[in-house]
Symmetry: D2
Subunit: 436 residues, 4 copies
């Protein structure tokens, strides 16, 4: 057998560009680009919690690609598995054919993630983006219940493909749809109407009234911590009320754990200690362990009513991502990994509280949970100014919330403690600078 | 700086599974899985046009993951670039921050792909799936025109997220939406109503009549060759008519080149010799060169009316895919690559015609174009029976079309000739067997 | 019992207006008013086929309020029944309580209209507008089939409330919706694509193809003659094909007989001699015999799956209209009435053909059927110019069609022959004038 | 001129039916009929506040056809104008041609209704049903703002054509749509979440948050008293807050005064003393004075952006209704009419409060306002049982509310006092009977 065609092929010599990477990107990439505008740095390499620019300067990563590299960049254990797989000609892309890499992932996911947590889910490999996992979950809920509306909450973020966008709260992104975003019932999230209003009870009132205009939904979709929405945290009690209401209405409970899952909120699943067992769970971002695209919809077995191929997509067989995912799961076989998260969370919280007291005096408060945390400011611009201060000090962070009024601190779950300290010092200094 | 946490970490020893990969997949993966049902083989490794199962048997790949590995599996040139990037700690995942890998891709895409073809497009990196590139294109068209309806054609396949699914024809996939698939005007594709009806003229009639009920659209979205729809080929004349109609109506022309592009239909873009210049082009599948997820929406510069971040998605910074994409573009710097495609296309067409004449006598005809080709059978089951015959003979192919009545032949663009011959012999033998 | 309150009440003396009726209407009525713009005449009284303006001038009525006064204005037999009912304190408005007037109508409708035609329908009294009858029919079809899409045809007109508007073709009216008009599949009407394309066959092709993108519909809704759409006539063969297709697909056949029914197309129901029995029929306009608002949805008994009150509306108990309707039905007890229609139809057709030959030489052709007829011109403005010529000569007619290119001739079914002749003479003279 | 055709025509002799009116209705009318089920009485004649059955028994009317005969049945002054108009061959039906009857109505409506209240509105004659007036208002708001969503409130009732149904809260009616009811934002009405939650403030919070998921609306549509929803009354303060919010958002305020208007809530417009001036007002039900179908959309002049004919409908020229409407307006020229309403309202309220105290002890409370009032019971069945008690005593009333838990008392605005007393005695006796 002769497969020499490709190997014989010489890499063509192309003229070395004189233009800078940044000018090239600015002239060639669509106006839709966003992060690169506020952070005009060209990243080349990355190692753990360090991102390196073209000149080799390290930026401490307090963003983790919006929670998609929770294990740090190029984690040695994960990276080794990827390189080994590639060098041994492991199959990369196979639609949804069976592969050893997929089987290995499924086995580890069952044995190390699901079984110890007494969870039973069938795994759907959707197209490898969070929005696709959400589309699949919502479709399945509608199919199972033969109902159309899905409940989503204020400040929710679930993606930008049309089905997911209908669930997303952000108005500028919604407006981009150009068409109606229907079949969604929007309700206030936990705490949205202040401490005195139990919004789960409000939801129950609306659905129990046969002329409220709130039709029985196919599902409730909820983030236990709203990342883009401003690090709002749902209480266990509220989530349980929503879960009960869903059950009473014959609706499914979908937890969108795309950002809060994979350890970000302290446990592998964000809902582990909250007393609810979702019917469907969406996972993506850090599930591949490496930042490679991958997404899953977990389905309680009796709800797995899909017909073969009913929801498909070319890249749902991204085997390299499966390999990284299997390697990442190894970390969860040991309790120490969660202890490490908790320790770092405490370090951050201590500093954030101190910063609030020392420098921000009532102008900000600590929000979020575990390593999914930050500061919410009264004044929208404050968060951005502190972000820029941190950037000048070599720390990459981001803002979130309806008006970008929240400074988001999302380091790797395994960030070395010295880097974490260093990054937090930059935060403190930037806050102090801002406060002056 | 101490980043030892991860490195110190031992891979945990997990019990070796006794269960087979296939049984594991069947018990753990959702019922939605499809390809693995008709081809109960576990693939482990892949090299060029060979897929290897667990026992090391080679299957000649006439499917190429639905056109997403057009350069073969683990093409040495592309693979080397990926491994080098990873081993040197190239940054893998960066949202849409600027990276050297992205800049390099943009430069090569401009200099080697766009410029020689006199094309000018801004590049939008959408979420790395074809359906997402379609969602972005359709949103942008609606935004630009402030209109809602988009024209899609019979037998079209554009993806399964809600916005793309509305454009897709397949009824079982449409039904899974569970909600109305609105804001789409469906029209018959070229040739759909037989040779005597010019369906572009029909479209013009409908849109010119102010009480036809066909509202002026934001865009026409079209595949130049309908892959999933059964390898239907649009003529240059028809496409030009549609392009003119779109222009006359103030609508955009979107070419979904996700499957037909990247060389599959003979040229890098499938529309290159058809006399049309689309306003927007969707690319995915083989754009990364490696089967890694990646997707682009190309935008004529004056139409790039996006606000920053208006359409986003975590994995639009899949740098490893950019690296593979840059390597793959190298092949297009030389005219020989296209000659190689043409040569293989001729080899296939010759055999297909011969098979029709010798064995299928009027029960099938050759359809499609270049390496995006196959046989359409009168009887739906025929294609599947021949596919199974080929599988038994070690060749992987698939069926497509409304009733799976088309046997699809999609080898790598650089498949070694001996493997191509071998695969076609298996096809001939399977057809002969069927005919008996 | 003392009900003197109202009787004791004096009509207040209000100052006599100095402003003209027309200026009052132009200043007080919304800009949406339309007919009164092209015909700036204030009508006061009406008798049979004469409309009288403020000065007592008679206009021969070739419009019949768009077919809603098919028996002429203030037909003595009908008017007598109305006045008698009112003067005897017959109850006028009763929601859908049982009344003697309703019972009388139902009896006559069953015995004189349905039974002799071997038709069996339950009668739904919808809100008293055609659009409401259409809304009810479409809802019921969707309920019965549990499907969403309804097929409507090019140039269809079914009303302007949102559900009906989605079925209507007219783009300016559609645009006024401001939202998507979904869940409708638009297909070409009989003859729309020229004589060589059987559009019923085309519909079958589309619905039989599982990836055409045409989902199985709840119903087909069709006008046997499209009034607003330009007096297009469906052939019996085409209607039968559509009826068969609907049946094969498990969809209902709805005939919108609002304008073509009540004798306008020659028989009580327009479909009587066309070999189809619709599942649902919408009637309105002339059903009340008097121009008073009334609308019905007729339902084949096994399809009457409504829950009580599921579709309601205050004015569905417009008893005065029922009284007029009962009186009008009397005319249908005798065959002579239909003979009278036929005789008038022949008189009109003869003149129209003569006009085409003598004066319009290929610039117009006779369209429509029976007393639902007219001339279609090549040039849109022609019809309007002739309409104005007729108006100057004391004859009221209207234009219709996508570009108002059709002059519509719709006299009362019982128009006195001398008035018909006089009106047609005005038409001939106006056409001659135009031709010069 | 010879118009003898109709006059010569003999009324045919049809066999006298042996079947009862009720059995005829039950066998011939659709299953959708509702009121006639709970009140199996055939009404024949009506005079003021008396409805007479086939045997001549009087039923005191505490329902007024859901508020569509506010002046009583066959009010002598109104009836005389109708009969005079008909006997003098007044034109009945004229699409939207100018007529003297329309001009007279517009003049009186301007001079007697609008001008004294310092209101300026253009009048749109929509199709003569409330639902059509709502469809027109919502279309116009969407056209003016170029936005899609409209805010409607819990327990709202705005009609059942598709556009209006989307605004209506009742779930059984909503379900009958069979399709998504989109482009509506549902918010809680005044008091819906208890006294402690200001739902107007809640609305402001939601619309001010750019990621709440609540898009800026085209309009807020509100009933000042929710009739079908259970006689819920909006406070002046809440309405003013909603009006301010609408203004701040660039949205229109639509008051659906179809049931609460025309004097039902004490003034001609229900919003007269509430400190708001709606942008659009929907009127129907009693606007014709007679129960004849008629509906208006009132438009603040600068918002009258309709194109001619953009919203049409055959029966918008129901001249007989205009004549009745003009006669009814006479009553409003004098202050005494409103005094008469107030007096009757006090009589009713006194009795209702007494009934609550004497017989229902905390099981019911008085709800509503003016002559749009009733009793809300804790137990749903109570209202129906008392309604039946009243019916046995010769008084016609109805129930409303999400679970039919409200007994609705809606006598004519001019009900003779002795009949009112008699009806209220029946109510008291029925309540006492129920309480035992």
């Amino acid at each position: 057998m002769n497969i020499a065609f490709a190997e014989d092929h010489e890499s063509p010599s192309v003229a070395v560009p004189l233009e800078s990477s940044l000018s090239l990107i600015n002239s060639q990439e669509s106006a839709v680009r966003s992060y690169c505008r506020g952070t005009p740095i060209v990243f080349e390499k990355a190692n753990g919690s360090c991102l390196f620019d073209e000149s080799g300067n390290c930026y401490i990563d307090f963003l983790c690609a919006a929670g998609s590299v929770n294990y740090g960049h190029n984690d040695p254990h994960i990276k080794k598995s990827l390189v080994d797989y590639m060098t041994s000609n492991g199959v990369l892309q196979t639609l949804d054919f069976a592969t050893g890499a997929k089987a290995e992932f499924l086995r580890k996911f069952r044995d190390i993630i699901l079984a110890p947590r007494q969870l039973q889910y069938r795994v759907q490999f959707t197209g490898p983006t969070g929005t696709n996992a959400v589309e699949a979950a919502v479709k399945l809920a509608r199919k199972h219940t033969a109902r159309r509306p899905v409940v989503a909450f204020t400040n929710a973020y679930h993606g930008v493909s049309l089905g997911a966008l209908a669930l997303t709260g952000n108005q500028s992104k919604r407006k981009a749809a150009g068409v109606s975003l229907g079949d969604v019932i929007r309700l206030p999230y936990d705490g949205y109407l202040g401490a005195s209003v139990d919004t789960a009870e409000l939801a129950r009132t609306l659905f129990n009234d046969p002329s409220s205009g709130f039709d029985a939904p196919a599902a409730f979709i909820v983030e236990t911590v709203q990342g883009e929405g401003g690090l709002n945290v749902a209480s266990a009690g509220w989530l349980q009320s929503i879960a009960r209401l869903a059950k009473d209405l014959g609706a499914l409970l979908i937890v969108d754990d795309i950002q809060a899952g994979c350890g970000r909120a302290g446990r592998f699943f964000s809902f582990e200690e909250l007393g609810v067992t979702p019917d469907l769970v969406c996972l993506s971002k850090s599930i591949s362990g490496s930042g490679l695209p991958m997404a899953l919809t977990l389905i309680r077995p009796h709800l797995d009513v899909w017909e073969p191929g009913e929801h498909n997509g070319t890249f749902r067989g991204n085997n390299l991502a499966f390999v990284g995912a299997s390697a990442a799961i190894d970390y969860w076989a040991q309790g120490e990994f969660e202890l490490g998260i908790a320790k770092r969370a405490t370090m951050i919280e201590t500093v954030l509280r101190e910063v609030c007291i020392q420098h921000l005096e009532g102008r900000a408060r600590v929000v979020g949970k575990s390593l999914f945390t930050g500061l919410r400011f009264e004044v929208p611009q404050a968060a951005e100014r502190i972000r820029l201060g941190m950037l000048r000090r070599g720390v990459l962070a981001e803002t979130c919330g309806p008006r970008d009024e929240v400074l988001k601190i999302m380091p790797a779950l395994n960030i070395p403690e010295n880097l974490l300290v260093q990054g937090l010092e930059a935060l403190t200094a930037s806050a102090a600078e801002f406060a002056d």
